[in-house]
């Protein structure tokens, strides 16, 4: 990375961090409250009656899924809203007229999304400690999975922002696609509980692989083999990176 790219990357990243901290009441607090309620209601109150899931206490089974859900939603939401805001307010032009390379621009926004995803993930993880008794079975795998997942959904949020023409457009995908895929991606139940047909359908859901890899990292067991889960996550990361770069280079949604 040459000097220009490094300075430009730092500038975008610090700007994103400053935005996250400036509006912390919108970026960091809501997921903490929502997830505390999940832990309380699904984990403690209902979870006690559900019993074990794959031989694990229910509250401990859902913690990895809920942490991952927070990471996914916040990484996605951060890039989608921040980048669309810069398009809407036209200050994305500051970057477009500058010599900042497309990949640096993408890396800057994605690192902002990853940072928020990880901040929220860490907060949710801390809260989970009040409700469960977890330890990390495979710390490096856990960190690797959560970072790659945050990158994938930051990239997806970027794609959403590029195509969005109004603020409604950046809430449609999270509401109608992201949330259902997350809820049906093994956050609250083991895939093995499903009938064979629905198990096969669930394996088409990319979020399942991220949740299961993360669950393996924390609990040391999951429904999906790591030899499948990790390549799936890597393919999505590379594919979306290539797609985002081509969008910027072609100026889709950015240049007329």
């Amino acid at each position: 990375m040459n000097s220009l790219s490094w300075v430009a990357f730092k500038t975008i990243f610090l700007k994103e961090i400053s935005r996250i901290m400036r509006i912390w009441g919108q970026t960091l607090v809501p997921p903490a409250i929502t997830m505390s309620l999940y832990f309380l209601i699904f984990g403690n109150l209902i979870g006690g009656r559900i019993g074990d899931m794959n031989g694990i206490r229910y509250i401990e089974f859902i913690v990895p899924g809920l942490v991952m859900m927070s990471v996914i939603q916040n990484a996605y939401g951060n890039v989608a809203s921040s980048f669309f805001g810069s398009k809407f307010g036209r200050y994305v032009e500051e970057l477009l007229v500058s010599p900042t390379p497309a990949w640096v621009m993408l890396a800057g926004y994605v690192s902002g999304g990853v940072a928020r995803g990880l901040m929220v993930g860490a907060i949710v993880m801390l809260i989970s400690m009040f409700f469960s008794d977890l330890s990390l079975a495979h710390p490096i795998l856990t960190i690797f999975t959560v970072i790659l997942t945050a990158i994938v959904f930051s990239l997806a949020g970027f794609v959403n922002a590029v195509y969005a023409k109004k603020f409604d457009d950046i809430s449609i995908i999270p509401t109608f696609i992201l949330t259902p895929l997350t809820y049906l991606g093994g956050v609250f139940y083991a895939v093995s509980l499903l009938p064979p047909f629905w198990q096969k359908v669930t394996y088409l859901n990319p979020i399942l692989y991220m949740v299961e890899a993360f669950r393996y990292g924390i609990l040391g067991q999951s429904d999906v083999s790591l030899s499948i889960a990790l390549p799936v996550i890597c393919v999505f990361t590379l594919g979306l990176t290539y797609f985002c770069l081509s969008l910027i280079e072609r100026g889709v949604g950015l240049r007329s």
Binding site: A8, G89, E94, V97, S98, P101
Partner: protein, 316 residues
């Protein structure tokens, strides 16, 4: 590269997705160090041209070089030379002026320490230093325009493009702004200006291009263009009222009201002859002014007549 023009555009064409042909083969050269006016009526293609040069608009055909650096294959280096002050506010209204300038410099690879020093320099020169920490949405329209100029200057571009920078700015601020731009031009920055205040263009710019319907219809020095004016109209405020316009040989005289005359003077005629005749008729003149700006008259004539097919040569 040192002797390359600040901007060289050849055969530039742009057709938008809706079929509108905004530029139909534009050729334009702006020499390094120039103070250049790019004028044209609304919808003529000015903003498209500026958008292409500043990489906000894609082009279909042609070439654009900034100080000899091609936008096609040396885009990053070409962008480094360029500063843009757009027509509409395009900064984050929730950020502070100081941060907006420092961040903008960062996009050009300027280190944070240097960016802060330059931000102080330009915000001070543009009388915005005491506003550096307020939310920029609270600034007045004139302050926002000056902020965009400071932002465009923090990476110290060699070519500054000002797209109607004085729209909605009061006269005092406008004058201080022009003083600043003249100063940076004197220091070597090439300036391209679009404006609807033609008296500004006339008094500031050395060379001029007029664009209409996506084509350059005039591209010459300001002096050469003004020399094309074959007549000039003046308004005379009279000392005593008249009931009818006097007949003066060689001049077209019209009585606008009892104490105001409009006189058309052909190019080459001397005002002495007019005043001699008025004096001889016992008519006193209290004051004299141009009916309209000379450049404005030419501009309107060029655009109205649709004279427009061929460019008249390159800028000096």
């Amino acid at each position: 590269m040192s002797h390359a023009p600040a901007l060289a555009i050849r055969g530039l064409k742009k057709t938008y997705g809706n079929g509108v042909s905004a530029l139909k083969g534009v050729d334009l050269t702006v020499q390094a160090g120039d103070f250049f006016a790019l004028l044209g009526p609304n919808g003529a293609g000015k903003s498209t041209l500026i958008g292409i040069v500043s990489s906000l608009v894609n082009f279909n055909e042609g070439d654009v070089d900034v100080f000899g650096l091609s936008l096609r294959n040396q885009r990053a280096q070409a962008k480094q030379q360029l500063g843009l002050v757009p027509q509409e506010f395009n900064f984050n209204q929730f950020e502070k002026p100081f941060d907006i300038c420092v961040n903008s410099a960062g996009y050009y690879g300027v280190s944070r320490e240097l960016a802060k020093a330059r931000t102080e320099k330009y915000l001070t020169e543009l009388q915005l230093w005491d506003k550096r920490d307020v939310a920029s949405r609270t600034l007045s329209g004139g302050m926002k325009r000056r902020l965009m100029i400071a932002r465009a200057m923090v990476h110290e571009p060699r070519l500054l493009i000002l797209d109607e920078p004085t729209a909605g700015v009061d006269i005092e601020i406008r004058r201080s702004l022009w003083k600043f731009v003249q100063q940076i031009n004197t220091q070597g920055t090439t300036v391209i200006l679009t404006t609807h205040y033609l008296e500004e263009a006339e008094s500031l710019c050395r060379n001029i291009a007029i664009i209409d319907k996506g084509q350059i219809v005039e591209n010459t020095s300001m002096r050469a263009l003004l020399d094309k004016l074959d007549k000039e109209a003046f308004i005379l405020d009279l000392a005593t009222p008249l009931t009818e316009a006097p007949i003066i040989h060689g001049f077209t005289v019209q009585l606008l009201d009892a104490q105001t005359l409009e006189v058309e003077i052909p190019k080459g005629s001397e005002l002495n002859g007019l005043f001699g005749a008025l004096s001889g008729a016992g008519i006193g003149v209290r004051s004299l002014r141009n009916k309209s700006n000379r450049l404005e008259e030419l501009f309107v004539r060029l655009v109205d007549q649709g004279k427009l097919a061929k460019p008249t040569g390159a800028a000096a």
